[in-house]
Symmetry: C2
C-alpha cells in the first residue's frame, strides 16, 4: 500500500497539483450564525462582501498580512450566495469551493446550518433520496442543444405500475437549467417533504427556461430589446409544451391529465408559469408564481385573455407569492387586484424577504404539500 501512496506524494511534491500559497479560511461560520469572510488582496484599496438578501455590501478591513476580513450576521440558518468586490471587481471567493452557479453571475455560497436536532427543508437529512436525471437534446423550436433535469422521488421505478403527477419547476433569468437543483435544493426539499408525508410523491421537471439564449449571450442589457424579450418568453412556452412535456410523458411513468400537471417558477420563471399555465388551463390545473406575477395593471387582460371567474372551476391552485422586501411586491399586488376584480381566486402569499433564493426555497417547501391533493 505504501507504494500506492507514493503516487500521490510524487504528485504533490512535483507540484502537478496547483497548490494555493497560503490557506485562508473563508467563509467561517460560527455556531451563533455570524459569518467571517476573508480575502488575501494586499494591494487592493477597498474590499467588501455582499451577501444575498442582506442589503448593501459590508466593508472589509485589511490586516498586516494583506488579508481583508469582515464578519456579518448573525445570519438565520440558510444557504446564501455572496460575492467579494475588490476595487470594483466582483470576485468569487478563491478560498471557497461552494458555488451558486449562474449563467451571468456565478457567486460563492455559504451554508449556515440549522440546529442539529431538526434539519431545515433544504438540508440533507437521513431519509430516502430521489434521483436527478440530466437530459440532453437538440431543440427543433430554438435550434440549439439544450438540457433539462428531472427529479424522481425515492422508490420511483420506470417498470412499476404507479403513475406520478408532474411539477414543471422554472428557474429565473440568468439561472441555468440546474438552478433549482444546484441552488434551489429542489430534490432535497422534495425528499424531506415526501419522507415526512407532507408532499405527495411527484416528478419534478426543471427545464432550461429560455426561448432564446440571446437574452443570456447579450448579457444583462438584453431585455431592452423588446422583440428579443418577447421571443424569449413566448418561445419558452412552445418549448415546454412542444418538446419537454412530450419527452417526459413519453419516457416517465406519469399521469397525463391536467389535474396531474403543475407549473411553477421564480422571477422570469414565475412570469412563464403564469403565461403558460393561465393560458393553457386545458393542460395545467396548478399554477404557482414566486416573486413574479407583478404585471402592469392595464395589460393583464391582454396577457391572460382566457382568464375569467370561469377559471376557478379549472384551477385547483393559483398560488402567488412574493417577499415584502422585493422590488416586485407592488406589481405583484397589482396582479392580485386584477384577479380579484375578475373574480379569480388565488392563494395570496406575502413573506418576509427580498428577491432571493432564500424566499424561493421556502416557496417550494410551502407549495409542494398543496399539489395534487
Amino acid at each position: 500500500m505504501k507504494a500506492l501512496l507514493l503516487i500521490v506524494c510524487v504528485l504533490v511534491s512535483t507540484q502537478v497539483f496547483a497548490q494555493p500559497p497560503a490557506r485562508i479560511i473563508s467563509p467561517e461560520v460560527q455556531p451563533d450564525g455570524h459569518v467571517t469572510f476573508r480575502l488575501h488582496a494586499p494591494n487592493a484599496a477597498k474590499v467588501e462582501v455582499s451577501v444575498e438578501g442582506q442589503g448593501p455590501g459590508t466593508p472589509m478591513q485589511k490586516d498586516e498580512q494583506g488579508i481583508w476580513s469582515a464578519t456579518v450576521g448573525p445570519l438565520q440558518p440558510d444557504i446564501y450566495g455572496y460575492s467579494l468586490t475588490a476595487d470594483g471587481v466582483g470576485l468569487i471567493d478563491p478560498s471557497n469551493q461552494l458555488m451558486k452557479p449562474n449563467l451571468l453571475n456565478t457567486q460563492s455560497a455559504v451554508h449556515v446550518p440549522g440546529p442539529p436536532s431538526a434539519s431545515l427543508p433544504w438540508e440533507v437529512a437521513d431519509v430516502p433520496h430521489g434521483q436527478i436525471h440530466h437530459h440532453f437534446y437538440r431543440s427543433k423550436i430554438v435550434g440549439d442543444d439544450r438540457d433539462f433535469y428531472v427529479y424522481t422521488p425515492p422508490g420511483y421505478n420506470a417498470a412499476a405500475k404507479q403513475d406520478y403527477p408532474v411539477l414543471y419547476l422554472l428557474h429565473g433569468f440568468s439561472d441555468s437549467a440546474n438552478g433549482w437543483s444546484a441552488v434551489g435544493q429542489a430534490n432535497v426539499i422534495l425528499d424531506n417533504l415526501i419522507a415526512q408525508g407532507k408532499a405527495k410523491p411527484m416528478i419534478v421537471v426543471m427545464p432550461l427556461g429560455y426561448g432564446d439564449m440571446e437574452v443570456i449571450t447579450r448579457g444583462w442589457g438584453s431585455w431592452s430589446d423588446k422583440q428579443l424579450a418577447w421571443r424569449n418568453l413566448s418561445r419558452f412556452t412552445d418549448v415546454l409544451l412542444g418538446e419537454v412535456v412530450p419527452q417526459i410523458e413519453g419516457s416517465y411513468k406519469v399521469k397525463k391529465d391536467r389535474e396531474s400537471r403543475a407549473v411553477a417558477g421564480l422571477s422570469m420563471g414565475g412570469a412563464e408559469s403564469l403565461l403558460t399555465g393561465l393560458n393553457h388551463l386545458d393542460k395545467f390545473a396548478w399554477v404557482g408564481a414566486f416573486s413574479s406575477g407583478g404585471i402592469d395593471n392595464q395589460e393583464f387582460s391582454a396577457e391572460f385573455p382566457a382568464v375569467t371567474a370561469g377559471a376557478n372551476k379549472q384551477l385547483k391552485l393559483l398560488w402567488i407569492a412574493c417577499g415584502t422586501d422585493d422590488g416586485l411586491i407592488k406589481v405583484n399586488r397589482a396582479l392580485k387586484s386584477w384577479l380579484k376584480e375578475k373574480g379569480v381566486q388565488y392563494t395570496d402569499i406575502e413573506t418576509p424577504g427580498a428577491h432571493t433564493w432564500m424566499v424561493w426555497r421556502r416557496n417550494l417547501a410551502a407549495i409542494a404539500p398543496l399539489l395534487f391533493r
Copy 2:
C-alpha cells in the same frame, strides 16, 4: 406581452440583479486558437494567467483603464482549465461563467473549438444523447452522505430486455463525483463513439472516489498522513464493491459477469482502478489506468499479490496510459517493467501531454472502443 416585459425591466432597474460595473470579454478565443484573457484589477502589481498543461503562467499587461490582458497560444482545439493570479491570489476569472469544478481548486475553463466540419470526441454533436443520472445515498461504510453519477446510452430503457456492460470510471484527487461528467465530458465522448459505431453501448458509473473525505477537508497536505491516505484508498474499494456496484446491479439493466465489468480512472482514480481491478479479477476483466500506475517498484508484489502471468487468462485488457510530460511517467514505466517481469500482458500507451484533463479525455476516447469486445 409588454406587461410581462415590465417585470424584467423592474428587476433590472431596481438592481434586483447584481450587475457588474463594466463588461470585460474574457476569455476571447480567436479562430486560429489564440486566446486572450483579461482582468480588471487597477491596483494589482502583478497579474498572470496559467492555462492547464501550458507550463508556467503568462504575465499579463495592464492598460490605462486598469485592465490586464495576455494572449496565449495558439492552443490546440480542446477544453482547458485556467486560473488568474493577482498578487499571489489565485482567482476564478470573474468575466467567465464556464467553470472546471473541483473540491480544492475550482478554475475557469475555456473551450477552443475544433473545425466546424468534424467535431472532436468531447464536443457535442448532432447525435442521439444519453442521460446522466445523479444518485444520492448514505454510505454505511464511510458514514457520510455521498453521490454517484450514471451515464446511460441513447435508447437505454429500464424496461427493455437488453442488458448493458458497465464501465466504472474514477476521477482524480481533488475532483468531485462530477469530475468525469462536468470536466471530462464522459457522456459526450460516449455519445459520439456510440453514434459512430466505435464503442459498444455501455453504462458508465462515476462514483465519488474517496474512502475518507478527510483527504479533502484537510486540504492538499492531507496525504502526508499515511494512515489517512491508506484508509482513503482501501476504503474506496470497499465502497465501490460493497455499495456502488450493488446499487447499480440492483436498479439498472446490466450484465453481472466479470467480462461485462470494467474499471478505469485517472491519477488517484488510476491507482484505485489498479488496486480494485487487479486484486479482484473475479469481478473485473477490463482495467485501465490513466496517468497513474506509476508505483514504487519494490512494492508492486505487495500491492498486487494475486498478479502473476496467470492473470493474462482473466484480463481482457490491462491498459496503462500516461502523458510523456507527466511527472508520473517514470513510476508509470517502472510499473510496466514489473508487469513485464511478471509476464503480465498490458497495453502500453504513452502520449504527448502532462497531468491534465486533455490527456484523460483522449484516454477515455481511446479505451472505450476496446471495451466489452
